[in-house]
């Protein structure tokens, strides 16, 4: 099996007395889509925050391509290949759709400290941004202000920002939450497309069983912040932990 791109070892965070993520050791490989499941409050988002750096770990370590990134600033991790999308839509609301994507590409190409050129005249960046918008089918809305978009389109843009970032590790946190049945498949198809690229690892927090069945190569179960199960989908779904925790129910109901 290929080397792990991303690895956490004994990763732990405490909020006061509450252990939100509890000694989680897990490795993620290129070309693999890992579904991370668990009831609300299990610590999935917090685990993501530890990996992408929004929260500092109380203990344990995070490695990206075997380099330790546990204490690295968020932006630095992003430049090294961590791509994080957020559970709650987290965009630049008063800027246009195109500008949101442009900013990501500009960041990735280290152009942010150019003071005396005109942002709009960098056609390489604008073209790359337009191409990403086409891919997520938002090209018709490029000039719209983000705050004027529907929730579904904002979720698509959230995915677009990640695609524009072109990271080594994609981290999606409930990407289809609150999306209509028409919009959700667009996002899921995009994630399936990303999966075809065998150089990247994808982490996906998702509740819907059918989505997990069709996309996941592997399931990791978090329970009360701890790793409860880890393995191929069929195996994990049949396991005692999952049967006990979600007995007979769809994960979405939990």
């Amino acid at each position: 099996m290929a080397d792990a791109i991303l690895e956490t070892s004994d990763l732990t965070v405490r909020f006061g007395g509450h252990v939100a993520v509890d000694h989680v050791s897990c490795a993620f490989r290129a070309g693999e889509l890992t579904a991370i499941v668990g009831p609300n409050g299990a610590g999935k988002t917090t685990y993501f925050n530890l990996i992408s750096g929004q929260i500092r770990a109380s203990a344990g370590r995070v490695f990206l391509n075997r380099h330790e990134i546990t204490r690295m600033p968020v932006a630095e991790r992003t430049h090294r290949g961590i791509g994080r999308a957020f559970q709650l839509t987290n965009l630049f609301p008063n800027l246009t759709v195109l500008e949101n994507v442009r900013l990501v590409i500009q960041a990735q190409r280290h152009r942010g400290f150019r003071l005396f050129s005109m942002a709009d005249s960098d056609s390489a960046i604008s073209d790359a941004a337009a191409a990403v918008l086409k891919r997520v089918r938002l090209d018709a809305l490029a000039a719209q202000k983000v705050s004027e978009l529907s929730h579904g389109n904002q979720r698509k843009l959230e995915v677009a920002l990640l695609i524009a970032l072109d990271p080594l590790v994609y981290m999606f946190d409930e990407p289809t939450a609150g999306m209509s049945v028409d919009d959700a498949p667009v996002v899921l198809d995009l994630i399936a497309e990303l999966k075809a690229d065998s150089r990247r690892a994808i982490l996906l927090v998702e509740h819907k069983m059918d989505v997990i069945r069709s996309l996941a190569d592997r399931i990791v179960v978090l329970h009360n912040g701890a790793l409860a199960a880890d393995g191929p989908p069929a195996e994990v779904m049949a396991s005692d932990v999952v049967q006990e925790a979600y007995l007979g129910r769809d994960l979405a109901d939990v």
Partner: protein, 352 residues
């Protein structure tokens, strides 16, 4: 060409374009259109405050950074020129050295304050700037052997910039061609260049990052921008430009003192000008500074006229007493902020 000059940042409103052009032409031809010492003083002050307010807008309107130290940076440029002129003697070299020293010192101090406090939280930065600015103001009034204390400093500037210097015989449109005229155009063109420079910066890749940070600093960091570095850089640029505006002010006035450069009242004036003009627009600085300074300088006259016109009516003259001008200024501001929460520029752009 013209579009490049304004960095592709069109006013996006016909009325706004007309107002901006009127201000530009008014300032460019001020010595000829509005002869008289007083109106030239007003015009020069408007030029300088446009730069000062625009540099503040870079921080507040684009970067979302609240600072109370802007007059301190302004003062550093002014005292730079004053001290250089006092110690090096009158001359253009003193003006250049003083201006550069002031701008560099302001940028370095901004860097220190920024790196020290912007890491934590934006509100902490605001408090630190307030503390540092107050400390500097006290220091300046205490170190009277160096700074002249409360009295400030008088000094000489190159003769070529003073009224005593006549660079051509006779008069042009009844305006005498002296050094004061040259001094005004030094101020005018410096201000114009600095403003266009700021306009370029806010439309550069860097300017876009600042807007992203203002909108959502959390996400800006997540897509790969070190927010603290960008905020600090914006603060440094803003401080340096404010200092240069201060240098121009010192060259124009031939005097610096705590009241004209460092006082907290000026800080409040800057805030009002940004808000009235419209934050995050750059052009707001032009309109805010022009409206505010004209009101500040001419409201009293206007009221005297109103008072004598209503002299026969009971009570009313009391309200129009010229001594009440500050009250009316206050009322004007409250009304303008109430009716134009996005500033005059924001309002004009909406009404398109």
């Amino acid at each position: 060409m013209l579009t490049r000059l304004i960095s592709g940042d069109r006013p996006r409103s016909i009325v706004l374009t007309i107002i901006l052009l009127a201000i530009l032409i008014g300032l460019a031809l001020a010595p000829f259109l509005f002869p008289g010492i007083r109106s030239l003083e007003t015009a020069a002050r408007i030029c300088i405050f446009i730069v000062l307010v625009a540099s503040y807008d870079l921080m507040l309107g684009y970067g979302g950074i609240v600072s109370f130290a802007h007059t301190m940076f302004f003062g550093m440029g002014a005292y730079g020129v004053a001290l250089a002129s006092v110690h090096m003697g009158r001359g253009f070299d003193a003006l250049i050295v003083g201006t550069l020293a002031g701008a560099v010192a302001a940028a370095v101090l901004a860097l220190l304050i920024g790196l020290f406090s912007l890491r934590v939280r934006a509100i902490f930065f605001a408090m630190i700037t307030l503390a540092v600015a107050s400390a500097v103001a006290v220091l300046v009034s205490q170190l009277s052997s160096l700074t002249g204390g409360e009295d400030g400093l008088n000094y000489q500037i190159p003769r070529a910039l003073t009224p005593a210097f006549k660079f051509a015989d006779g008069r042009l449109f009844d305006v005498s061609l002296n050094g004061k005229l040259l001094n005004y155009y030094l101020v005018f063109f410096s201000a114009l260049i600095l403003f266009l420079l700021l306009l370029r910066i806010v439309n550069s890749p860097f300017g876009r990052v600042l807007q992203a940070i203002r909108e959502n600093d959390f996400r800006a960091e997540a897509i790969g921008y070190r927010v603290v570095y960008y905020r600090t850089a914006a603060t440094c640029i803003s401080a340096a430009v404010a200092a240069i505006a201060g240098s121009l002010f010192a060259i124009w006035l031939r005097y610096v003192g705590p009241d004209t450069t460092l006082s907290f009242e000026i800080m409040i004036d800057i805030l009002l000008m940004v808000v009235i003009g419209g934050m995050g627009t750059m052009y707001g600085a032009v309109i805010g500074a022009a409206v505010f300074i004209i009101a500040q300088n001419y409201l009293q006259e206007l009221m005297a006229v109103a008072a004598s016109a209503t002299a026969k009516v009971p009570v009313l003259p009391l309200f129009f007493d010229p001594d009440r001008w500050l009250l009316w200024l206050g009322v004007l501001f409250v009304l303008s902020v109430y009716f134009f929460p996005t500033g005059i520029v924001g309002r004009l752009r909406q009404g398109r």
